[in-house]
Symmetry: C2
Subunit: 305 residues, 2 copies
């Protein structure tokens, strides 16, 4: 059955290292150097962008394009734009007015180093440059670039997108933790940008509009997004600060609505496993070309940080 | 001489009222209603967007398109995107971490009403939806929409754009107030988006790339942008809170670098007048079609709030 993970010899750590380097080099090229004025904002943007992130979203975009046979560099700049948007959301999320986090990926958060004002502006700037990077992406048609702008703006917006999810999350602290609210938060807050990531790959590979490939990758993105959030919630309960690179236990302290809080730990683990199966099933038609997508889904569910 | 303002019977207040209503109606349509979930962020976005702003940037875009003979509704959505970006910058600027303003256009600032967290997210959301609005603008070609995305992202970015200007402004408080620094701040902080506004009109009217019309409108935009900032600085010295709708005297209190501080009040007034002449000269070739652009330049220099 296609829903069963197929055994594979795929070298995921080699793949992640290689693609991570490609993303790193592209980000280096796309973000103004620390010597470009006003230097302090470029330092602040780079501080968080080059803080050891796992590049999940760019690598999902690259692997999705690959599943459709597109292995050239055309997907790289759009993939980096996803990382810029993700990073801006982390910088703003960590601010004292929001989650008030001092530690991110084992280092002081952006505002602890550059101050609240610069952290706000660095987030704004990463959001803004993401659209410039997509609009100017080389090797893609005008139609493709415009489709990427639209996808990115909707996925990071208020209606079912990332910002909307953050708002639901903030509001959720004041509400009863129902399953419905939980799913609405996750689908928007982390799910939308993860789904956009695989769709970025589809668009860069020439599958702009409604097609079976685009739909299959969207299903994969949704399953992986849900699994990602469930595991994130579980890690917040079960990890040490050293493993996690940030302060664990904050969800409970802030009365965040989480999968373990609503379903319990065991059922949450089971749900993550089910989503992993669904992700595998969605990309089964792509065969060996989807080896990376399958391995990434496995890693997302079985990671420990 | 074309540099001399020509006498005109142009009914500016009627024009501003009419265009202001068109912009208002378009903004109403483009921003999710207060009933759309998550409702609170749409309330926060609308609170600042419908706070009695003068719609300078959208009306500049409309008037610039008109100078090129484009009077249809195609420019409206892009024009509104400019107002969204301007409004997001005001919301973030007013935050305690930045200018810490309690009053804007005679009303409590966004964070005083919705809290700092929601104000940060409302600003993020207005920035994000601006790109969606431009990408989905009806009646424009794919090329035009993409050119608008590019123009907007660069004009609001860090290198010579709005965010860069804000950073220079923050940093400027710690530096000697030189003429060079002053011009660098203004060109980026307010100048870039004002110039983008007239260029939006040019692009919506079909003048995407380098053309004499595009260049002439850019010159107009630069002159009007400089005049706008000089007058803004003068008003901060000379106005009452009632006139200004915000707290005057904050520039001096915050050691901001301003035109009156660098050049003195009289020379600043003279410079504003020279820029007005330059604006008129730039649009002289458009004849009667540029009547609105001329009258807006006059108003920007002679306003008292």
């Amino acid at each position: 059955m296609s829903a069963t993970p197929t055994p594979t010899q795929f070298d995921l750590s080699g793949y992640l290292a290689l693609q991570g380097e490609r993303v790193q080099a592209a980000l280096e090229r796309l973000i103004p150097a620390e010597t470009v004025e006003p230097a302090v904002i470029h330092r602040a943007m780079r501080y968080s962008l080059f803080a050891g992130g796992k590049r999940v979203r760019p690598i999902l975009a690259i692997a999705a394009a690959e599943a459709l046979g597109e292995t050239s560099d055309v997907v790289l700049a759009p993939a980096c734009a996803l990382e810029m948007v993700h990073t801006y959301s982390l910088i703003h999320d960590d601010l004292p007015a929001l989650d008030n986090d001092d530690l991110r990926r084992g280092r002081p958060t952006n505002h602890k180093v550059f101050g609240d004002a610069m952290a706000i502006l660095a987030g704004d700037a990463l959001s803004t440059i993401a659209f410039q990077v997509v609009a100017q992406a080389e090797g893609l048609s005008v139609e493709q670039r415009l489709a990427l702008v639209e996808e990115l703006s909707v996925a990071s917006g208020t209606v079912g997108g990332m910002i909307g999810g953050q708002v639901h999350d903030l509001e959720g602290e004041k509400q009863a933790p129902t399953a419905e609210l939980l799913h609405r938060i996750h689908r928007a807050k982390t799910g939308a940008l993860l789904r956009a990531s695989v769709r970025f790959g589809a668009i860069a590979a020439g599958k702009l509009a409604a097609s079976e490939e685009h739909a299959a990758l969207s299903r994969y993105g949704e399953a992986v997004g849900l699994a990602f959030q469930i595991v994130d919630d579980l890690l917040d309960i079960e990890s040490t600060p050293e493993q996690l690179g940030k302060t664990p236990g904050k969800d409970a302290a802030q009365h965040k609505i989480t999968f373990p809080a609503v379903y319990g730990v065991e059922a949450s683990r089971r749900m993550a496993g089910e989503q992993l199966q669904a992700a595998h099933a969605a990309v089964a038609p792509f065969g060996e070309r989807a080896a990376a997508l399958r391995a990434i889904a496995d890693l997302i569910v079985h990671r420990n940080s």
